[in-house]
């Protein structure tokens, strides 16, 4: 295993964590968007309290994926930027509005109407962003990018990310975020032992979970129709992960049904992670279809080894800090004493 493979594993891990943790944060906004008219203040507070402390950290996983791609596989980074110029810009637009409106909503002392405005911006941006990121990912999976096989420009900048598979992936991503968020919030409600919220998020986990199952099977059909190269990868290498994903998906529904929230979180995370790894493994060694492989895009080996060293050193600092953050805010069910200054 060369340093490029190590970095691909690190990148896929970071992408998975972004999908899970960032995805659950996106999902919270999706729920605000879809239930804007019925949600009570209590529900909103529950959401905001759950994502507040971990919000910024969850966002950084995306930056992390990006810088490793830039540093380790510069040609793929450039090709991706060219091919997905528009959806990435639209996703950025969503990221800006989401991050800013969330901070404004959390700290504003303005009128009720002002708070509602920022909430609305947050909800809309939280729904739009996973769509565009999903469409970008779907475009890569479809292999129909607006670049030539060496990563140069192709005239048609809409091709790829508006293909049926890409648009489907965009919507799939929204549902995935909503599902993860529902299960995560179910666990939060379970921890504070609020039966009303527990019931609500249990129902929502179940309904979105069933949708996830249907869409996942539909997604396999879409891939079969649209991306023959990915299908070949699935058949030769990726299939065990597809099975893992389906098993975890069913398992998560069972655990939610039984009311075991922590197990449900683990199972639903496993289902999502297996989809991402199934995709990565099936596509390997191609990073950017049709033509750009890891070997083509990678930086010189000495650079990659230095990166591996930097990442390992960084991880020694990062992982305990991250563990501390989550221990502090995610495993302590007790309400903090509130002292307003």
């Amino acid at each position: 295993m060369g340093p490029d493979d190590i970095l691909l594993i690190v990148m896929l891990t970071a992408l998975t964590l972004y999908a899970l943790l960032g995805g659950a944060d996106f999902g919270a906004g999706v729920w605000e968007f879809t239930t804007a008219l019925q949600a009570s203040d209590k529900e909103r507070q529950h959401i905001y309290k759950a994502i507040g402390p971990v919000w910024e950290a969850n966002h950084v996983w995306l930056i992390f994926v990006l810088v490793i791609l830039l540093n380790g596989f510069p040609i793929a980074f450039a090709g991706l930027s060219r091919a997905l110029w528009l959806p990435l810009l639209l996703a950025l637009c969503g990221i800006v509005f989401r991050g800013a409106s969330y901070a404004f909503r959390s700290h504003s002392h303005g009128s009720h109407r002002e708070l509602r405005l920022w909430e609305a911006v947050f909800a809309i941006a939280s729904t739009a962003t996973p769509f565009f990121l999903g469409a970008a990912a779907g475009a890569v999976a479809s292999g129909k990018l607006a670049i030539t096989s060496t990563g140069e420009y192709n005239d048609d900048y809409l091709s790829g990310w508006l293909s049926p598979l890409a648009v489907f992936t965009g919507f799939y991503m929204i549902v995935m975020c909503a599902f993860l968020s529902a299960v995560f919030l179910f666990r939060e409600a379970d921890h504070v032992n609020d039966s009303e919220l527990k019931l609500l998020w249990r129902q929502r986990s179940l309904s979105t979970g069933i949708w996830m199952g249907v869409l996942s099977l539909g997604g396999l059909v879409m891939v079969e129709l649209e991306s023959p190269s990915l299908v070949a990868g699935f058949l030769s290498r990726g299939w065990p992960l597809i099975l893992v994903s389906l098993t975890c998906g069913v398992g998560s529904l069972v655990e939610v049904w039984r009311g075991r929230s922590t197990r449900a979180v683990i199972a639903s995370s496993g289902a999502v992670a297996a989809v991402i790894w199934g995709w990565g493994v099936s596509q390997y060694p191609v990073i950017l279809p049709p033509g750009i492989t890891s070997a083509m895009a990678k930086a010189p080996d000495n650079v990659l080894w230095i990166m591996v060293g930097v990442i390992m050193t960084g991880a020694v600092l990062l992982l305990p800090a991250l563990a501390y953050l989550f221990m502090l805010f995610k495993s302590n069910p007790a309400e903090p004493k509130r002292v307003e200054s």
């Binding site: 507040g52 010189p300 200054s341």
Partner: protein, 447 residues
């Protein structure tokens, strides 16, 4: 698309792409500076609370931390925009040079991550953690903010003084990422930027509280906030003039054409004059209306009044940056730096004589002005660095035209970006004002 076609697209995209980069960077850099400096102020105020037990210090630290939370959140997303823009606007730059100069970005990824984690702990930990532990969790925020800025500026310094690779038949070989990171421009440029970050934070915060005192606030809260922020800013003002001088000497060595543009020096000469003010005229090839100090530039750049300084006339036309922009921006930056140093001297003398700060309204007004001016100085400094490097994106190796995207619609994107950032900018100011207008505790010494 054939080659000529590509070149036309590149030229058409150059201006909007540069404007887009300049605007989004110029916006982010203000938040980045406050992100580096604010944690220091929060920690100082909280430290006073731990020392004295005076709740008012805690109130101050806590309120600053809320402002920091808003600024950090907006800075995080405007920074995300920049990291994407590296590829979206300049795909050729990253595709070709990413392996040489990507390492500081990877490191910055970690620094930003640690900052985000501890920002979460610090901001939401006020009531969860013991007082001293809470104070400790603020330190990583300050340190990783500092490191983030350092890493990103090393990447920029490489664009000014590229090294750490060899070109063989146009191919990049023998890449040494650490040599690239620590190039001749790194030391001066990173120090200049970090000091600028503390200056901007100190003066901006001081400006805000000076205005409140001028408007009649008698609350010790405002006095203390003013004192702390001035204590951050003032010592750095003279430091910055020394670092700035160091920076100019590095530019003289690594980018002589940039130095000539900064000074509006057209003719190569010994005893080269230092131009103060003035407007360089590209047709007459003279800098008009400037005050000239004979030999001044030779001395500043090389420490010798008789040293020869190369003028713009001796560089090929195709390699010369927009002289007027660079010269004027440089004059503004230096012009703002000077009163900062004078205010420091004033405060030092007054304190030495009376053991107190200057109290006149004139002094307070000066501080009010220095807030926005410090931001202007920092922005014009970046104009000098970036416009002064044109027409190169990687000095001597890649022209900006070669790096720019060939995607359609860059002007439209720029228009939309302006609109979005306008909304976000207004939102930030509105929320910060609301935070500032929250009533203070009645008893001036309790919370």
């Amino acid at each position: 698309m054939n080659f000529t076609n590509l070149m036309t697209v590149a030229t058409d995209n150059l201006l909007p792409a540069r404007l887009q980069m300049a605007f989004t960077l110029g916006f982010h850099i203000i938040l980045a500076c406050l992100g580096v400096g604010m944690p220091v102020l929060m920690l100082a105020a909280e430290w006073r609370f731990l020392k004295t037990g005076d709740e008012l210090w805690r109130t101050l630290a806590r309120r600053w931390s809320k402002a920091f939370a808003v600024l950090f959140a907006v800075g995080a997303v405007s920074g995300t925009v920049l990291s994407f823009e590296l590829g979206l606007l300049w795909p050729e730059l990253m595709g070709r040079w990413g392996s040489v100069i990507g390492l500081p970005f990877t490191m910055e990824g970690f620094a930003f991550f640690l900052e985000a984690i501890f920002a979460g702990i610090y901001l939401y930990g006020w009531d969860r953690l013991p007082a001293r532990v809470h104070w400790y969790t603020g330190w990583p925020v300050a340190v990783s903010g500092f490191m983030s800025a350092f890493f990103v500026v090393t990447a920029n310094s490489w664009m000014n003084a590229p090294t750490g690779f060899r070109l063989v038949d146009g191919k990049i070989v023998d890449v040494e990422p650490f040599a690239a990171m620590f190039n001749v421009a790194t030391g001066a440029q990173t120090t200049h930027m970090l000091v600028a970050a503390y200056l901007v934070t100190g003066f901006s915060v001081a400006s805000f509280y000076a205005l409140r005192i001028l408007r009649g606030s008698q609350h010790p809260y405002d006095r203390r906030a003013l004192t702390l922020s001035l204590l951050l800013a003032l010592p750095f003002a003279p430091v910055q003039s020394v670092v700035g001088d160091w920076s100019a000497k590095v530019v003289a060595k690594s980018q002589p054409v940039k130095l000539a543009a900064m000074e509006g020096l057209f003719e190569t000469q010994r005893r080269a004059p230092l131009h103060i003010g003035g407007i360089p005229n590209k047709t007459t090839r003279k800098t008009d209306y400037a005050i000239s100090i004979p030999g001044g530039l030779s001395f500043l750049a090389y420490g010798d009044f008789n040293a020869e300084v190369k003028g713009l006339n001796d560089f090929p036309d195709a390699d010369i940056p927009p002289v007027a922009v660079v010269h004027v921006a440089f004059q503004i930056m230096v012009g703002i730096g000077t009163p900062m140093v004078l205010v420091t001297v004033w405060c030092a003398i007054t304190y030495f004589r009376t053991r107190a700060w200057p109290r006149s309204r004139f002094f307070l007004w000066l501080i009010v002005l220095l807030g926005p001016l410090s931001i202007l100085a920092m922005e014009t400094g970046w104009v000098v660095t970036e416009v002064g490097r044109q027409p190169w994106i990687v000095q001597g190796y890649m022209r900006t035209t070669e790096a720019v995207t060939q995607a359609p619609g860059v002007w439209e994107v720029f228009g939309v970006t302006l609109a979005i950032y306008f909304v976000i900018g207004i939102g930030t100011i509105v929320v910060l004002r609301q935070l500032a207008q929250q009533p203070l505790p009645e008893n001036p010494h309790g919370a």
